[in-house]
Amino acid sequence: MSPSILVAQNLSKVVPSAEGDLTILHALSLDLAQGDSLAIVGASGSGKSTLLGLLAGLDRPSAGKVMLAGHDLGPLDEDQRARVRAEHVGFVFQSFQLLDSLNALENVMLPLELDGRRDAREQARTLLERVGLGKRLSHTPRQLSGGEQQRVAIARAFAAQPAVLFADEPTGNLVSHTGERISDLLFELNKERGTTLVLVTHDERLARRCRRQIRLDAGRLVAPMEAR
């Protein structure tokens, strides 16, 4: 097995609420190797997205530790974590999160341009062709269907060649056959590029395609992480 790319140890998240402190994640640990894939499943409010946010360094845990690509996220401030994200992480969201004012090509170019890549345009075009949108480069998000928008988002996520790709309900807003095609695409790229895939989903079929799954219930791990 390749070395660990994402490690969580005793991860907890407590938020204050009107009824006192509310623990939304209880001492959770996991360990993912490079190229692995993990599905986080559970009912609404079980803490899936909270866990994803902590693992990706978008939020800070109340206790515990996250190691992402060899970086301990704990002592890093927001800007330092942003740097880690820029170098190692990609995202796919349920609501696609494309920028309305940019067309498909420009949306995919964005992370490459942020990185100062001169070949941003060519890279983005190649990726869009790869996801089957080679003829829709100049379309804005409003002119694309939900499935097409998500394909643009996936192309954007892979553009920066991330070590870990986090996907939050990537098929949640899509009808089933479109969702099917999107998950195919995700796993193909995961395989092609050796990217580690962490996804949060309600979709049992999508979850089963991951090598490992964990189930959360009220912030606790109920189905342990096992190899398929």
Binding site: S49, L58, R83, V84, R85, F91, S101, L114, A160
Partner: protein, 835 residues
């Protein structure tokens, strides 16, 4: 990405901006800035150029742009300084002297002028009394031009000679008009104008003679300012500089008011700019919250994200400001072309300052009002990509808005250089906004309870406002500010015009009659009645000088070069009156009801500005020297006097019966309709001792200046209205997204089009009415302060402001329904997809 150089960030910002041009909110922001900068630039140019033109007209009343005046000749270096700056120069010497003819002598005021005089305006003369006058020229050496009353007094005719001192001069023409005579048309002695070359030969000027030396200068504003700067610091005690401001009180007053009005109009434009930019910038920021969160996810640091948006805005602002300045410049150019026939032929160019001020105004407004929402963009938590409800932590927005207000206040102050006006507008606007916004919020909240039983259209329309009462109050406030600004400018225009019209009615006195002897008084009044002249009362006048205040010599009390000092250096026209003259308003003390008791020191009513310059208090004891006799009086009241009216006005009015036994003549002013010149001739023949001065020319000049000012004021109003409307639409645009989505949803749910139109009318109509109400109340608050402290106008409530809610309802309602018709007409599906 950790070390993203500025150049890459800049390049990225530029690319993003170019792509963002597709986004409607960027266009709205650009448009708002463009309009704001164009409006303030155009007004700035218009104001500056018109002011220049009016100054030019006003400078005729001085005969120059700047006058160095003193009781001794100007020093060589003072003259050299002006000549070195390339200023044109004329030299005039004035003195009072007895001139003699074959039949007698007459005290006259003699003016010796060189060939260059006057530098502004023209002297007018006629070949014989009451003959047709021609402009231009001046007496040649060996000649004098005289006023007709000198001919009458000496029984001479044109062609005869008079002696001025030791020199005999031939009277070649009748002097009918001197441009700078307006300063002093109360003058009691007839004018004799001679060539400066003859002055020495008269031998009149001896050490100790009372002479006024005037060096007239003309040139461009910069050179004049530099000259003023050079000369001002070492003026001799007897010297002072005069420009158009103090050339003539009538003109000065009108110009001052017009300038304040123009300044206020550009302040209003700045205010509108602020509102427009704030509206569109907050929409710009709101629409970029997701994008900012995403950029943070993609690894941009807070500072980089913030920098990216700031750079984008800066680029947008710069382009919009430059384009706006160009547009504003073109607009005023077009305007002046349009007004070609109405304006003076020479209108100064205006320079680069108004354009720079316009650009600066736009950029500061952008920085001030767009920075707070943009600063929030830097604070978006990246977790927002997973949880849409996460909003940026509101940064110390009080600090940021405080800074914005400060910056705006600075611009306003810079524009007007009038702290009071700035505070009145800024502070008044702020207080009104907070107060009314709070009231509105309360009102909206209580409306919620009433809504439960209302019909669907009302619930739909109002529901939109009630869902976000803060936002609704904010919108009403923004629209209210726009309406307020427009109403304020319109209101002040009307007041100013009224004031000017009242000041110079059609039948404003066009003649002054001086030196009416007590014995002739009744007969003179009868004559005036016979020729249907509308006359002011006859005021007794006795010349006297203020010599002591509280038994201390006045020279020890007054400060140098003040109005007070000038007033105590010459004889004042002292009068007495039982009634307070029309147009005078008491500011302190009370008017007397009876004659003073036998041994009492009588009261005197003093003009308020002079009193303040002389630091007079109620009850102070004044001592006057009247024809060698000392008379005392106590200050019993202070009065405001309208110097810009053409009524006889006095600095000092005594209690009746206190100046008895002193030599007295009477003076009055009267109006005689045009075409009655022969009546004037008859009048002066019947009363040879009486001096009758025609001030038609002065009145005409003043009227034409006021007409131009009025025109300027009206056009500026037009600009403000246009800018306000544009900004109103921009503001509406900024709130439409949400409504379009909602409309489409309702359509999709099966709501009929008329229902939606009605609901929308209710919503926007109410929003507009609320804005109008805010504007009306705010307008009254601000005008109260402005009238009282900045414009010197009488304040009374303006009931017509109550049409503002209706105007607001129609304007905002109409614009709102118009702007959202896209949502009503388009297929709901398409709109939903687009949203």
């Amino acid at each position: 990405m950790s070390h993203m150089p500025l150049s890459r960030l800049g390049g990225l910002a530029l690319r993003q901006l170019l792509r963002d041009v597709r986004a409607s909110e960027v266009r709205v922001l650009f448009f708002a800035l463009l309009v704001a900068v164009a409006a303030s630039t155009a007004i700035g140019y218009f104001g500056a150029r018109l002011n220049g033109a009016m100054q030019l007209r006003a400078s005729e009343f001085l005969g120059a742009d700047l006058v160095l005046q003193g009781s001794a000749p100007a020093r060589e270096q003072q003259l050299d300084a002006g000549k070195a700056l390339g200023l044109r120069h004329a030299h005039v010497v004035e003195f009072t002297s007895v001139v003699g003819g074959d039949n007698g002598i007459q005290l006259s005021s003699v003016k010796a002028a060189d060939g260059a005089y006057p530098l502004r305006g023209q002297v007018r003369s006629a070949p014989a009394p009451y003959a047709e006058e021609t402009p231009g020229g001046g007496p040649a050496p060996g000649e004098v031009w005289v006023e007709p009353r000198l001919l009458a007094a000496l029984g001479l005719a044109i062609g005869d000679s008079i002696d001025v001192g030791m020199k005999t001069l031939r009277m070649s023409r009748v002097l009918t008009y001197e441009p700078d005579r307006a300063n002093n048309f109360y003058s009691l002695t007839p004018r004799v104008m001679m060539n400066l070359a003859d002055l020495e030969a008269t031998g009149v000027i001896q050490p100790g003679s009372r002479v006024t030396y005037r060096d007239l200068w003309r040139g461009d504003a910069e050179a004049l300012a530099q000259y003023r700067h050079t000369v001002e610091k070492d003026l001799a005690a007897n010297q002072r500089l005069r420009d158009t401001r103090d050339g003539n009180q009538q003109i000065g007053g009108a110009l001052g008011k017009a300038e304040r009005y123009l300044n206020m109009a550009s302040l209003v434009a700045v205010l509108l700019a602020g509102v427009a930019v704030a509206l569109s910038a907050s929409r710009y920021a709101a629409r970029r919250l997701d994008a900012s969160a995403l950029l943070r996810c993609l690894g941009l640091s807070r500072h980089q994200a913030l920098g990216l948006y700031c750079l984008q805005l800066a680029m947008l602002g710069l382009v919009a400001a430059l384009a706006g300045a160009l547009l504003g410049w073109l607009a005023q150019l077009g305007l002046f072309r349009l007004l070609h026939g109405l304006l003076p032929s020479v209108v100064p160019a205006g320079g680069i300052i108004p354009a720079l001020a316009g650009i600066g105004t736009g950029l500061v407004a952008l920085a001030g009002f767009a920075l707070p929402p943009i600063a929030a963009l830097g604070q978006v938590p990246p977790l927002r990509v997973l949880r849409r409800d996460l909003l940026p932590i509101p940064a110390s927005s009080w600090l940021v808005y405080g800074a914005a207000l400060l910056a705006l206040g600075l611009i306003m102050w810079r524009l007007s250089l009038d702290l009071l006006l700035t505070f009145a507008l800024l502070g008044g606007g702020l207080v009104a906004a907070l107060l009314l916004g709070g009231l509105l919020l309360l009102g909206l909240r209580s409306l919620r309870q009433l809504l439960a039983g209302a019909p669907l259209t009302w619930r739909l329309g109002l529901g939109q406002l009630l869902r976000h009462p803060m936002a609704a109050a904010g919108q009403a406030l923004a629209f209210g500010l726009i309406l307020l600004a427009m109403a304020l400018v319109a209101l002040l225009r009307a007041e100013l015009l009224d004031t000017w019209q009242a000041q110079l009615p059609k039948d404003a006195p066009n003649h002054f009659a001086l030196n009416i002897l007590p014995d002739d008084r009744e007969l003179f009044i009868q004559h005036l009645h016979q020729v249907n002249a509308a006359s002011a009362p006859l005021y007794p006048v006795t010349p006297g000088r203020l010599v002591q205040i509280n038994e201390k010599p006045v020279q020890q009390v007054v400060s140098k070069d003040s109005a007070g000092e000038r007033a105590v250096q010459r004889d004042l026209s002292l009068t007495w009156a039982a009634e307070l003259p029309e147009g005078n308003v008491l500011t302190a003390g009370s008017w007397w009801q009876a004659l003073p008791a036998d041994n009492d020191i009588p009261g005197v009513s003093v003009e308020a500005q002079l009193a303040s310059s002389l630091k007079l208090q109620m009850g102070d004891l004044l001592t006057f020297d009247i024809g060698g006799q000392q008379r005392q009086a106590r200050v019993s009241s202070l009065r405001n006097v309208h110097w810009d009216s053409f009524q006889p006005n006095f600095y000092m009015i005594f209690q009746p019966g206190t100046l008895q036994g002193l030599p007295t003549t009477y003076l009055t002013s009267f109006y005689l309709a045009p075409g009655h010149d022969l009546d004037v001739v008859a009048l002066s023949r019947a009363f040879p001792a009486v001096t009758i001065l025609q001030v038609d020319a002065l009145l005409d000049q003043l009227r034409s200046i006021l007409a131009q000012v009025t025109l300027a004021v009206e056009y500026v109003l037009l600009f403000v209205l246009a800018a306000g409307l544009a900004v109103l639409f921009a503001g509406l645009q900024a709130t439409l997204d949400e409504r379009i989505r909602q409309g489409a949803l309702l359509r999709a749910l099966g709501a009929a089009r008329p229902l939606l139109v009605k609901a929308r009318r209710i919503e926007f109509g109410l929003l507009g009415a609320a804005s109008g109400l805010l504007a009306a109340v705010g307008c009254e608050l601000i005008t109260w302060v402005l009238y009282r402290y900045a414009f010197d106008l009488q304040w009374s409530p303006h009931p017509w402001l109550l049409v503002l809610p209706l105007t607001g309802a129609l304007l905002v309602g109409g614009a709102g329904v118009l702007g959202t018709r896209r949502a009503l007409n388009a297929s709901p599906l398409a709109v939903l997809r687009e949203a």
